[in-house]
């Protein structure tokens, strides 16, 4: 069993986002460097740990030394190294000298490209401690940070200045120097609770020794301790903790040993919207909120994760004071904002830039109203409410409270609107039109909100595409992918369908007079492409890429729900037992008729048996299939296809040879198959389907 290795880099306080970033790069570099140095074994364990003041790496299962290495090194061509008599030339002696062997030891290596000189080299493996001393400076150098800095007179850049380095293999120091600091065995504890430097006897005492010095270096352990403290404190306040994963990670990276200090604020501040109180506490002060029950009212108290708690009263008193001032500020903003109705802010939006080539927010709001009106007229949404919500949905951007807390946009607009006595459907839409914010967020559940949400996103999409701001690779500064996905999800999961073609044309038309966009056909084409790409990306995991492609192929790019109905119908058929044979048959029908001309079928030319049976059956159900397709009853249409045409078409391909010499018979046959293929293709492009469809798992939603 080999010894454990420990590296600890002691720094000044690293920003919370830096710690996880640095540990990730430290882990990856360690794996790579240990591998390259041939020190890895099957039982190698690489573990990183960290706090704001230290980045640590533990290696277990290192080889005790490098294995020896025998290597054949190829040199110059044989003819360049030896003359015809076999006497060595300069190239031979030079190559031998370079590798420390005699000319007589050189060997001939025969390859496809001719004979070469080669040499067998034996390299004895070095002791792990020697190899580590070589690779550790590189390891330190390779740790990356979102932003690095220099300090003092030094040239090396790191996340924050380095103060000490511990480097121990078992109980031995592996000495090296980095950033002017000599690695040793001296570490430090908590900045305030155990400030003295102390020596570590061996690597495997590390975590326990630091715990004794008030440092919980393992992130998971520290988090568990922090959460325990928070939950217990919330309970002792008679409430429940408001969970907040982002805040928890942030707080965790600010402390070496977490303590919870509760504090309180005056109950009168609870008259403010909950969202404001929580934002003040969270964004400005990094406090956790406490509620009376899950989802219940806020308690006038907060929980503060701190690094020391020698004197909790003093800490709470100071924090209470700061929070009081912050909440008083917020109350001032809300009171000021309420002195004028939301609509008064519209004028200010006229001087706020939406995008330099697309004009002001004021103009955007006017376009939103036009878009919302058109959308409402085509859905069952209340038209006046939609237009009013579109008019007011951006007004809160000009309130003091949203200027201070941008993440409260929409939320505050709704709150102010309700207090002005505005129709709650309009007020809700002011908040909901920002939904969904991301993949995890819900879509608006009411029509008005959904309409305004779509109106807003399509305006941004058409405008940006119209001036060439089309996302490429990972660059998507206007979050256009998210905007398109939002529209798709609202149509598929929300209360209104979206006709994309009409929507794009409407939004394009609304820009008239506001901005000069690329020609409508170009914008329409590139957006159609973009939406198809988004739809595919969103649905392929649930339905399979081939099903989505098959339906996209038959879809005309208008109603999103129409597309969804097709996809569901094809997917459902895909799970039927007769599907595979059916798919193969229609694929054949399509492929064979791809190039052939269509036209009326001459009954007289049909061969008795399989061909006339197929023609007859098709003649009977064709109109029913087309009618069901036209009425978007794709499942019905596909059922008809499967039930009525499945057996006849199989039989046809079994018994009938299509490409006969008689041109008239051949063409007639192709016309029959072509018409069948076209009819089925109106539902979905079967030739794009794989024969084994991914079965849809009903528990996975799109």
């Amino acid at each position: 069993m080999s010894s454990e290795f420990l590296l600890e880099i002691g720094t000044e306080e690293l920003p919370s986002s830096f710690v996880t970033h640095a540990l990730r790069s430290m882990h990856a570099s360690a794996v790579e460097l240990v591998g390259q140095a041939r020190l890895g074994t099957d039982s190698l364990e690489v573990h990183t740990m960290g706090t704001p003041r230290r980045l640590a790496l533990r290696l277990r299962g290192l080889a005790p030394s490098q294995p020896d290495r025998d290597e054949t090194i190829a040199g110059p061509p044989w003819s360049a190294a030896f003359d015809a008599d076999g006497a060595p030339k300069k190239a031979a002696s030079g190559f031998a000298k370079k590798h420390g062997v005699a000319v007589e030891d050189l060997q001939k290596q025969t390859t496809d490209k001719g004979d070469y000189v080669s040499v067998q080299v034996h390299e004895a493996g070095r002791a792990t401690r020697e190899v580590l001393a070589d690779i550790l400076p590189q390891l330190c150098q390779r740790i990356t940070f979102p932003r690095s800095m220099r300090w003092g007179p030094g040239e090396i850049a790191f996340g924050r200045p380095i103060h000490w380095i511990v480097s121990l293999l078992g109980s031995d120091v592996i000495g090296f120097e980095f950033a002017g600091v000599q690695a040793g065995r001296a570490t430090r504890g908590h900045r305030f609770l155990a400030p003295e430097s102390f020596d570590l006897d061996a690597a495997d005492y590390y975590e326990a020794a630091l715990e004794g010095a008030h440092v919980l270096v393992d992130l998971d352990r520290r988090k568990a301790r922090m959460m325990e403290g928070l939950l217990a404190s919330a309970e002792s306040l008679g409430g429940v903790l408001e969970r907040d994963a982002f805040l928890a990670d942030e707080c965790l990276s600010l402390v070496e040993e977490p303590f919870t200090v509760p504090g309180s604020f005056d109950e009168s501040f609870l008259e403010l919207p909950d969202a404001v109180v929580v934002s003040v506490m969270r964004d400005h002060q990094r406090y956790f909120a406490v509620r009376e029950s899950e989802g219940g009212a806020l308690v006038p108290a907060y929980l503060n994760v701190v690094n020391t708690a020698e004197d909790p009263q003093t800490i709470a008193k100071g924090n209470d004071r700061v929070l009081r001032a912050r909440l008083a500020d917020a109350r001032f903003f809300v009171e000021e904002d309420r002195k004028a109705p939301l609509a008064d802010r519209l004028e200010k939006l006229e001087s706020v830039v939406f995008q330099s080539k697309l004009g002001t927010m004021g103009a955007k709001v006017r376009r939103l109203q036009a878009n919302a009106r058109a959308l409402a007229e085509r859905s069952e949404a209340d038209r006046d409410a939609c237009v009013e919500a579109a008019r007011l949905c951006k007004a809160d951007l000009e309130t003091l409270i949203v200027y201070e807390f941008p993440e409260l946009q929409g939320e505050m607009g709704r709150w102010y609107a309700l207090r002005e006595g505005i129709d709650p459907a309009v007020a809700d839409a002011i908040r909901d039109h920002y939904r969904p914010q991301g993949a995890d967020d819900v879509v608006p559940d009411q029509r008005v909100g959904a309409v305004v949400a779509v109106a807003d996103r399509i305006d941004t999409l058409v405008g940006c595409f119209g001036i060439g701001l089309i996302p490429t690779g990972s660059a998507d500064p206007f979050a256009l992918r998210r905007a398109a996905l939002g529209i798709i999800r609202i149509a598929l999961e929300g209360p209104v369908d979206v006709d994309l073609r009409q929507l794009i044309d409407q939004a394009y038309g609304a820009y008239a007079g506001d901005a000069k966009l690329a020609p409508a056909d170009d914008v329409r084409a590139s957006l159609d492409d973009f939406f198809r790409g988004r739809i595919r990306a969103m649905l392929k995991d649930s339905y399979g890429g081939d099903v989505v492609d098959a339906c996209l192929g038959a879809w005309d790019g208008s109603s999103l729900r129409d597309l969804q109905t097709r996809i569901e119908a094809v997917s459902e058929l895909g799970s039927a037992p007769e599907f595979e044979a059916l798919a193969v048959a229609f694929k054949r029908a399509f492929n064979i008729t791809k190039e052939s001309a269509r036209g009326p079928i001459d009954q007289a030319l049909l061969e008795a048996g399989a061909e006339s049976a197929l023609a007859e059956r098709f003649g009977t159900v064709r109109d029913q299939i087309r009618e069901a397709t036209g009425q978007r009853r794709y499942a019905d249409a596909l059922r008809l296809v499967a039930k009525e045409l499945g057996a006849p078409i199989d039989r046809f391909f079994d018994e009938v040879f299509v490409m006969v010499d008689d041109a008239r018979v051949r063409e007639n046959r192709l016309r029959l198959l072509g018409e069948i293929a076209d009819t089925v293709n109106g539902i979905a492009h079967f030739h794009q389907l794989g024969t084994k469809l991914q079965r849809r798992d009903p528990s996975v939603s799109a």
């Binding site: 800095m149 007179p153 200045p161 690094n307 003093t314 004071r321």
Partner: protein
């Protein structure tokens, strides 16, 4: 501890730790960084340790004397340690002890806060220091100043004096602070806050400010001999030799430009796009002054390097 005792305690502490104690700059500045004792001296290889109070103006932060926490003029205590010593955090914490605050009885945190002054072409990495949830200081390792890489790096400590005093005196309203026995902060500054807020937000003559900005901008170019033409890679070109340039008067004019820009901004007289243009213009001037200062010190042979060597 009164406000003036707080200042005296910091002056004494940093004087004892090797800082030169100097006086505020006699022009309108947005913070201690604008003072040439910081802006100029953090450029180039020469060591420099200095501390001073800086009354700092932020026109947009004015609240007519009605907000207990926000002021259009407040006081910073500025410390520069160049090169930044490895024990700079310890020194800072010790200075808090000198103010009667024992860090181990409070919650002291170093919270990431990267600092940037777009007009000065300066940026650095560091922290806000929190004392029981209250931001009391800015702590910055200067990486660039006037567009020039800082080598060595300076450590900058900026104490927010009003906030610290409010904490120490346990008051919630800045105007209630005791500046000295018998005189409150409000007596000194409440009326001033109202007058300056009214001026900055309502009455400042915007045409005049714009004109002054432009005149001082020309003045900077004239005093430095700054050429309209740029060299390779956008390098600045000067028609005057380093020692013929009037760097300090020119820099004074840069500060004026920055201030007039701030007033125009507070007056709402600048659109979003114009705003970026103004910032770019001031940054160019600051860079010209910074490069000229560097060239001058270089021409003089960086005299403080010798002094530092002699001291060792």
């Amino acid at each position: 501890m009164t406000f003036q005792e707080l200042i005296l305690a910091l002056e004494r502490f940093w004087a004892e730790h090797g800082c030169l104690i100097v006086q505020p700059y006699n022009s309108e500045v947005g913070g201690g960084t604008f003072n040439p004792h910081t802006f100029m001296r953090t450029i180039g290889p020469e060591p420099w340790n200095v501390a001073y109070v800086e009354p700092s103006r932020r026109p947009t932060d004015g609240r007519y004397g009605e907000n207990p926490n926000r002021l259009q003029q407040f006081h910073q205590y500025q410390v520069i340690l160049k090169p930044s010593p490895l024990d700079i955090q310890e020194l800072y914490l010790e200075s808090l002890r000198a103010l009667g605050t024992d860090p181990s009885h409070h919650d002291i945190r170093f919270i990431e806060d990267d600092w940037e002054s777009p007009t000065l072409g300066a940026w650095g990495l560091g922290w806000q220091v929190w004392l029981d949830g209250l931001e009391i200081s800015q702590f910055t390792y200067f990486q660039q100043c006037g567009g020039i890489d800082c080598k060595p790096v300076s450590g900058e400590l900026t104490y927010g004096l009003e906030r610290i005093a409010m904490y120490l005196q346990d008051v919630d309203d800045v105007y209630e602070l005791k500046w000295a026995p018998g005189i409150r902060y409000g007596e000194l500054y409440k009326r001033a806050e109202w007058e300056w807020s009214t001026y900055n937000f309502e009455q400042a003559d915007t045409d005049l400010q714009k004109k002054l900005f432009e005149e001082y901008e020309k003045q900077v170019a004239a005093l430095l001999g700054l050429s309209d033409k740029k060299g390779k890679g956008g390098a600045l070109r000067f028609d005057r030799e380093p020692l013929e340039r009037l760097v300090l008067p020119a820099y004074d004019a840069v500060i004026k430009c920055s201030h007039y820009f701030n007033v125009l901004d507070a007056r709402g007289a600048i659109s979003v796009t114009e705003r970026q243009l103004y910032i770019g213009r001031v940054r160019l001037l600051a860079r010209a002054a910074a490069e000229s200062w560097y060239a001058q010190r270089e021409a003089l042979g960086f005299p403080l390097l010798d002094t530092a060597a002699a001291a060792q």
